[in-house]
Symmetry: C2
Subunit: 341 residues, 2 copies
DNA sequence: TTGTATGCGTTATCAC
DNA sequence: GTGATAACGCATACAA
C-alpha cells in the first residue's frame, strides 16, 4: 500500500492540505485532529515523497560532493575519506543526504553546475579538486553554496589543517632533539597545501635563524610511496650536508623516504630523523613508527559540514573564509635525539 | 534563465511534448525539427529536472548504498572503499548516481526500506552489513533489487572473492616452501567470510593429509592491528608445536600478528612465515613486505554494479546467486623456504 | 508527424 | 481551524 497525503486524508476524513500542514508542523489545528493525523502517520511510517517535495520546494535536502576528480585520488584515500565520513555524519544529523556530483545524467554529459541544478542540490562540498578546473570554477562562482577541504580559491570557504602550526611544530621538535640541519621533502606543488607548507618551512627556518637553502628541498613527483623513495635519493644527491632531520609533506611519501634513506645506508632515526604529515592509521604500524603531524580529519569534515549548513540556511555564499583546524605532533620512533658521537 | 520543456517549446515554436520526446529519443519526428530541438538543447545545456522526472516516472536513477553501519567500518576502510569506488565508476557510466542510505530524512527517523521508497531508489548495494540487521532483512525481502559484497543471506546476490581458492593457494604456497605446520589466525567469526575461510582451511588441510587441530586456530577479537598482536600471542601459548606458517584472515590483522611474533622472539619469515589476505596498499610497504592473497576489489565492485544494473533493467530480484571473483597469491618477504638448519 | 490534456505527490495560497 | 485549488516540470496516452 502506497501512502500519499491523499490516501491519508481520505482515510482520516480530512483534507490533503491538512495532512501536509500537520506533517510540516505549520498551520493551526485543534489538538484533536493534529493528534489523530500524527498518530496515523507514525503508524504507517509515512514520509512525504522526496521527488514531489523537491519539485515543489526547489530543495533536495541533498549535498553534492566532488571527490574523485582527475587527481586519481579515490575513495580509498586514507585522509580524505575520513574527512568525508565526518562530513557525512554531521549533515545526516540534520537530515541531509550526500550524493556524488558527476558529469553525466543518463545519456547527457554535463557540467558540475548543471548536475547540481538538475538535482536541485542545496550545497556542495569539494573534498579534492583543482583550482584550475573549469567545472569547479563555474560551480564556485554560481549561487550554490560551496565549501572546500582542499581547493584554494577566492570566494570559496576552506577548512584545512593549520599548516603553519604543523610545520612549526615539526621544526621545533627537530630543534629540541638537537637537530638543526632540517631538509624538506614536499609533495607535488600542484597541490596547493604542499606549496603552502614549503613556504611556511622557508619562513620558520629563517625565523629560527637557520638560513633557508634551496639545496635542502625536494618536491616529490607524486603522492605515493614510490615518489618518496625517489625523492629521498634525489635529496641525498642534491644536498650539501647530510640533513639531520627531513620533514616530509605527507605520511605516505614519508614511508617511501624512510625506505629510500635506508636503501642508501642511512639509519632512521639516528642518522636522519623523519617527520611526516597526516597521521594516517598506518603511521603507527610502520617500522620505525612514524613521528608525524596529526591532522584532525574528523574535525575538518565536521566543521566543513556545519559551516556549509549555515550558509545553506542563510542562503548566502559568504559564510566564512579560511578556517584553520589545529594539529598536533605525535612523537614516535622515526625521530630521536641527536647523538654527538 | 531557467529552462523547462515549456520555455524551450515556446522558444522554438513547438509543443512541450515534442521537446520531451526528442530529449528522450522516442517518437517520430522530421529530421529538421529534431535537429533544431537537439541543437538548442545542447546550446543551453538543458537536462530535464531530476525531481519532476522521478515524480513522474517513479525512478530516480539513483542507487542506494548501505555502508557505514554499526560495524564501525567507515569510508576509510581500504578494501571496501575500493569496492565502492569501482561500483560507483561502473554505474555512473550508464547514468546512475549513488547515494548513501540513511535512517532519517529531515526530522523523520525511518527504516532503510522507507528511505529507499521515499527516494524512489532503483536498487541497493550493501557493501558491509549484518545478516541479522532487521533493517537490512526488510530491505532484502522487499521488491527493491539488492546486491551485496559482504552479507550472506538467502535471496541476496553476493559478489565476493573466491575464498576457497585463496585459502588453497595459501596452504599450497606454504607446502611448496616446505612448511607443513600451518596455523590460522582468523578475524572475528561474526563476519561471515572469516568463518567461511576457517572452514575452507579445515577442509583443505584434511585434503592435503594434514589433520586439522583446534589448537592451531585462533579467532582474533577485532579487525585491526592490535587484535593481531593479541591473537599471535594467544596462538603461541595455545599451540602444541610452533607453526611454520600462519595464515591470517586479513592484512591488517596480519601486520599485528607479525609484530606480535617478533615481540615474542620469532623471526618472520624464517621461524614463522605469515600470509595475509586482501593485499591492501600497505602490504608492500610493511616490513617485511607481506605475502598475501590479492582480492580484486575493483572487479568485485564492477561485477556487483553490472549485476545489479541487469536486475534493475529486468525488474527482477533474481539476478544471480553468489559470484566468486578469482584471487591471486602475491609472494613477498613474509614467507620464505624453510631452512632445515 | 505533431499537439493537447492529464497526473505524478506535495505544498502555498486563498477561501470558507 | 479547515478545506479547495493551483502549480512545481515532466512524460505519456490520446487526439488531430
Amino acid at each position: 500500500m502506497k501512502h500519499t497525503v491523499h490516501t491519508i486524508a481520505k482515510h482520516l476524513g480530512v483534507a490533503p492540505s491538512t495532512v501536509s500542514k500537520i506533517v510540516n508542523n505549520t498551520g493551526n489545528f485543534s489538538d484533536e485532529i493534529r493528534e489523530r493525523v500524527l498518530k496515523y502517520i507514525r503508524e504507517i511510517d509515512y514520509v512525504p515523497a522526496a521527488s514531489a517535495r523537491t519539485l515543489k520546494a526547489n530543495k533536495s535536502w541533498t549535498i553534492g560532493v566532488i571527490y574523485t576528480e582527475e587527481s586519481n585520488v579515490g575513495l580509498e584515500h586514507p585522509f580524505f575519506s575520513s574527512v568525508l565520513q565526518a562530513f557525512k555524519d554531521e549533515v545526516e544529523k540534520v537530515g541531509y543526504d550526500i550524493a556524488f556530483i558527476v558529469k553525466r545524467v543518463g545519456q547527457h554529459e554535463m557540467s558540475y553546475l548543471s548536475w547540481c541544478r538538475n538535482k536541485k542540490i542545496d550545497g556542495a562540498l569539494i573534498v579534492i579538486g583543482s583550482h584550475t578546473n573549469p567545472g569547479i570554477i563555474e560551480l564556485v562562482n554560481s549561487d550554490i553554496p560551496c565549501i572546500s577541504t582542499d581547493v584554494v580559491m577566492d570566494h570559496l570557504p576552506l577548512v584545512v589543517s593549520d599548516n603553519d602550526q604543523g610545520i612549526t611544530l615539526s621544526i621545533d621538535h627537530s630543534l629540541a632533539l638537537g637537530r638543526k640541519k632540517i631538509a624538506l621533502i614536499a609533495g607535488p606543488f600542484t597541490a596547493r597545501h604542499f606549496l603552502y607548507r614549503f613556504r611556511v618551512y622557508q619562513r620558520v627556518m629563517e625565523e629560527r635563524g637557520l638560513p633557508y637553502s634551496e639545496s635542502n628541498v625536494v618536491s616529490a613527483r607524486g603522492f605515493g610511496y614510490s615518489s618518496g623513495i625517489e625523492a629521498a635519493k634525489k635529496l641525498l644527491k642534491k644536498v650539501k650536508e647530510i640533513p639531520e632531520t627531513i620533514i616530509v609533506g605527507s605520511d605516505l611519501i614519508a614511508f617511501g623516504v624512510i625506505h629510500g634513506l635506508e636503501q642508501s645506508g642511512y639509519h632512521v632515526p639516528n642518522d636522519i630523523s623523519v617527520i611526516g604529515f597526516d597521521d594516517i592509521s598506518f603511521a603507527r604500524i610502520f617500522a620505525p613508527s612514524l613521528t608525524t603531524i596529526r591532522q584532525n580529519s574528523w574535525e575538518i569534515g565536521s566543521v566543513a559540514a556545519k559551516t556549509l549548513l549555515k550558509m545553506i540556511d542563510r542562503k548566502t555564499k559568504n559564510g566564512a573564509n579560511t578556517i584553520r583546524i589545529p594539529v598536533e605532533l605525535v612523537e614516535r620512533d622515526s625521530t630521536a635525539k641527536l647523538k654527538s658521537d
